[in-house]
Symmetry: C2
Subunit: 191 residues, 2 copies
């Protein structure tokens, strides 16, 4: 998606340690109008897939998930990163590792909000190693929910997550695919 690539080139910052910082518009400050444009693109891609639920992970996926869900007319469910005293024990759960934060955690979703009959679009801001997406797939499998595909804002295509998911037969639509990046050379997108 050219508009997104231009925005990443303009506002994204690349740091050592494989960090692409886009927190001016995507995941700390949120450019809501721009994310609506991304949401419309996800809708264009998946409008015929019978999506009735969007699943994402707290916290950085919630904005794009909510703004996208408007076009689908469906609810969002966000997986939580650890059990809280409020959520009860009646949850689907799957382990996930965050390379960004160097932490292990468990993603949990209440069994009340994900089940058989759901046709799920998985959405997230980033896809790199694919740990979060795979954990969300696991949650859907436990629930008996059907996953129609994944919608990703930025895929680091040089990491294995996207390939892994596609090898599973999952449809993965990434609005921007980074082929390579470095603080000195900048960002190159896949053709």
């Amino acid at each position: 998606m050219q508009l997104l690539e231009e925005r990443i080139r303009r506002d994204g910052k690349v740091y050592d340690g494989d960090v692409l910082k886009v927190d001016s518009f995507l995941n700390h400050q949120i450019d809501v109008g721009f994310l609506c444009t991304l949401g419309k693109e996800f809708y264009r891609l998946y409008r015929d897939s019978g999506v009735n639920k969007i699943l994402t992970v707290e916290a950085s996926g919630i904005g794009v998930a909510c703004l996208t869900a408007q076009y689908f007319g469906c609810p969002v469910v966000f997986a939580k990163k650890s059990k809280t005293s409020n959520i009860g024990t009646d949850v689907w759960s799957a382990a996930a590792h965050s390379y960004t934060h160097g932490t292990d955690h468990t993603l949990v979703v209440s069994k009340s909000y994900l089940g058989a009959g759901d046709r799920v679009l998985i959405l997230d801001d980033f896809l790199a190693n694919g740990c979060a997406a795979k954990a969300m797939l696991a949650l859907c499998a436990q629930a008996g929910a059907q996953v129609v595909g994944a919608g990703i804002v930025i895929e680091k295509a040089y990491q294995k997550g996207g390939d892994d998911l596609r090898a599973l037969g999952l449809r993965v639509e990434s609005l921007a695919r980074v082929a390579s990046m470095s603080p000195t050379e900048g960002i190159r997108f896949c053709d």
Copy 2:
């Protein structure tokens, strides 16, 4: 807001320990269309206040903040609950205690995204003891940003947060104000 009170009566669950669970539509599963209706109400209340930024806290505030921000045509900034390796050290920060989760944490916002010249609407899903709201006020004070008010989905009016904030001279608009609640007696709203 009658529509919200009806929804809370219908779908909310009260548990011992002062827990009002509304995670079927507000903060785990998100009824996006309904939250847009709440967002329009926040816009009606604050449309003349010159809001140019909405500030909330991850994770449960992000959905309502993003869906509300559409009507204001302004960005959202969400405070993060701890420093991450991505956010750098150039942050405003304030301590906060979560009674819900029984945890202490520090709210941080990048100095790049909150500053003098900002006219901030603070939004959150719940107001109880007011710790999160006060921490957001502290962040805005550090930044030299002006706070035009707070918009709260559900205020536990029998706790001190709302009174504390109003005593500071802050405009606080809560769409539902719970006067009392218990698992046996149910929920009573303020008149």
